[in-house]
Amino acid sequence: MTFRGTSLSLALAVVLASSTSSFAVTEISWWHAMSGANNEVVNTLSKEFNESQSDYKVVPVFKGTYPETLNAGIAAFRAKQAPDIIQVFDAGTGVMMAAEGAIKPVADILSMGGAKFDKSLYLPGIVAYYSKPDGTMLSFPYNSSSPILYYNKDIFKKAGIDDSNPPKTWPEVWEAAKKIKTSGAAKCGYTSAWLTWIHTENFAAWNNLPWGSNENGIGGTDVELEINAPIYVKHFQELADLAKDGTFRYGGRTSEAKQLFLSGECGIYNDSSGGLGDVIKSGMNYGTGQLPYEPEAKDAPQNTIPGGASLWVFAGKSDDQYKGVAAFFNFLSKTEIQARLHQVSGYLPVTLAAYEETKKSGFYDKNPGRETPIQQMMGKAPTENSKGVRLVNLPQVRDIQNEEFENMLSGKQTAQQALDNAVKRGNAAIKQAIGQ
């Protein structure tokens, strides 16, 4: 019975599959990893685009978390069934760039759509992150955020710290954190999400320090990490010392520390600007500030580097499909769309016009904190230290760093040892990944 059932449903499946491919409009498939409120934004955008014209239809499909989406895309590509557009997280950028035959640069696609692609319209810090060394934009930045400082105004007041003036440098943060702890205003002074992204990658860019050789990997895949330089060691030793009496509390490798801040256990918190939504909804009396910098670094503050994800286009599609993708990306770049996306989702606008538009509308006066991440990225033109960080195996190198940081915070090793180990193991992993 099993056999008959199988072949019957197989036949049915074939009929079903063949009947779906006879549409007059060109379908553009978009695999994404947007969940929660952002998932609705994806659906709304697609719907609006589809209603705005009749040649193309964008079909967004949720494919799980970022790694799950990337795996689904790779599996589909290998089976020659790749979607047209796939959303890939920041740390996966290196993998996509290395896969030259698999992807089509977004710059090429945008010019196929008729409109000329003008890079100067886009936010420089973001474009630099998703471009080749020669400046060709490879993927379309969809959701970008950058790390900022959050603080609890009530706790600041209780500890006797000026709550309208958030700490701007790391020494100021440590001082405030100690005050919070010793005054008993809260159980812990400071916590942070994403130690790797914020305290090494952005620490490097914001203080204009090299993170690795070869322009942090943007100039070439062969990278030697440089995060055990004295200034990093000093920063991490300070964190480790504060962790001893609980002035700094470790919350986890990604954004779990947010809860320590939301629950009022910690007074100061670093996280992506995308985390603002939860902070607002929790109803706490919060303030925001720029990512702190290290005063010993002479060029600080420079600019921060984005996190988030971008949209990649697979190679080997028809011209018709590419035109559709171009039309969709042009639609996404429209000032009113970008401005709204920025205001609704908390992600950064991709275009300068959208930023100006939002500024003019008075949005930032009503929503202080929303402008900070943009200013951090706009202040200065990116240097070779601050364009971004690019490794074929960035997720793996982040894992290694996290492991070493955890062993440091639990008192098993000093900051010097932790960073030396991270560099040694990281370099070996990079060599292995690029096949040397």
Binding site: R253, Q396, N402, Q432
Partner: protein, 315 residues
């Protein structure tokens, strides 16, 4: 329908007294029929398991980028690298502790609860239902629940533990992290084991236990001399399934709860396979690791069948 055979069944049970293991089983003589019976399962297994698995194993001797754009045969290089990594030995140790603890706790608690549920008269159904439905929580969701309960930064229970003054911090304390993932993994499996123990207890004829009771055997003695041996086929089934579960099915939990940390304190072999292959996209290494892992577990299972199953008495 089932009249004559059931009389025979009872007769069979009692002439044997205990369910003696018969070394040569009585079978049907058909030649072709067994193959026909096996065919559906073998066909599905071959198409959807062996073919892709052989590809995955082939991957273990390749160095390949995720998109399959450049492929290079590297022989046993991947294996050499994996086995030469001092961290791999650490993973092996972590896996051993984790698997033994998980399987033992999950089975022992489930057996205790199943025996208790068998004993009570009132509320049997309610107990059973309440005990089984946690199993219905999708693994994709269970990870989130654990975070909400035990994560030191956001968990309610973690908050309660900390407020007693105990420094509960599995994010930095490796032993606590191990306790956390063992309880998460065991918790998820208790319902499963419970259900099969209940089913196993159901098929033990009450008359046997009654007979022993008449002979004056106490409750504990009855359990160990009659119930437990008769439950052995179920227990053996669960032992094998739980071992395999602890080895292969727990990376999702570890991923959600500790991410292998702190340091490498909770990095089990399968978590490494998953993290290297699925998250970090290092296909060759990951494939080599799964081959090694498969060999280990097949060996382990073979030992279970060969040595442990000897102690199992079938009817």
């Amino acid at each position: 329908m089932v009249t004559a055979p059931s009389v025979i069944l009872r007769a069979g049970l009692f002439t044997n007294g205990t369910f003696m293991a018969s070394s040569t089983r009585v079978t049907f003589p058909n030649k072709l029929l067994p193959y026909v019976l096996l065919a559906p399962q073998l066909a599905i297994t071959a198409i959807f398991f062996y073919w892709p698995a052989s590809q995955a194993i082939y991957q273990s001797v390749l160095r390949e980028d995720p998109f399959g754009l450049s492929t290079q045969f590297v022989g046993l290089d991947n294996f050499r690298r994996v086995l030469g990594d001092p961290n791999y030995l650490n993973s092996l140790q972590v896996t051993l502790i984790f698997s033994v603890a998980t399987a033992l706790i999950a089975m022992a608690l489930a057996l205790l609860l199943a025996v208790m549920a068998d004993k009570v008269i009132r509320g049997k159904g309610i107990y059973r239902t309440l005990m089984i439905w946690p199993y219905a929580v999708a693994p994709a969701i269970a990870g989130m629940l654990w975070l909400f309960l035990f994560n030191p930064s956001m968990g309610t229970l973690a908050y309660l533990v900390r407020s007693t003054g105990y420094n509960w911090d599995p994010l930095l304390n490796g032993d606590q992290a191990m306790v956390l993932i063992v309880s998460a993994a065991a918790w998820k499996q208790i319902s499963y084991n419970f259900l099969f123990f209940v089913a196993g207890l159901q098929s033990i004829p009450k008359s046997l236990i009654e007979a022993a009771a008449i002979d004056g055997a106490g409750e504990t003695k009855r359990f160990w001399t009659i119930v437990f041996p008769l439950l052995a086929p179920t227990t053996f089934f669960l032992l094998v399934v739980n071992t395999v579960y602890a080895f292969f099915d727990t990376f999702g939990i570890i991923h959600a709860v500790t991410g292998g940390g702190p340091g490498k304190a909770t990095e089990t072999l399968v978590y490494k396979v998953y993290n290297d292959g699925f998250v970090n996209l290092i296909l060759g290494d990951s494939a080599a690791q799964s081959v090694i892992l498969m060999i280990i577990v097949i060996g382990l299972t073979a030992i279970q069948f060969r040595y442990v199953e000897r102690k199992v008495h079938y009817g």
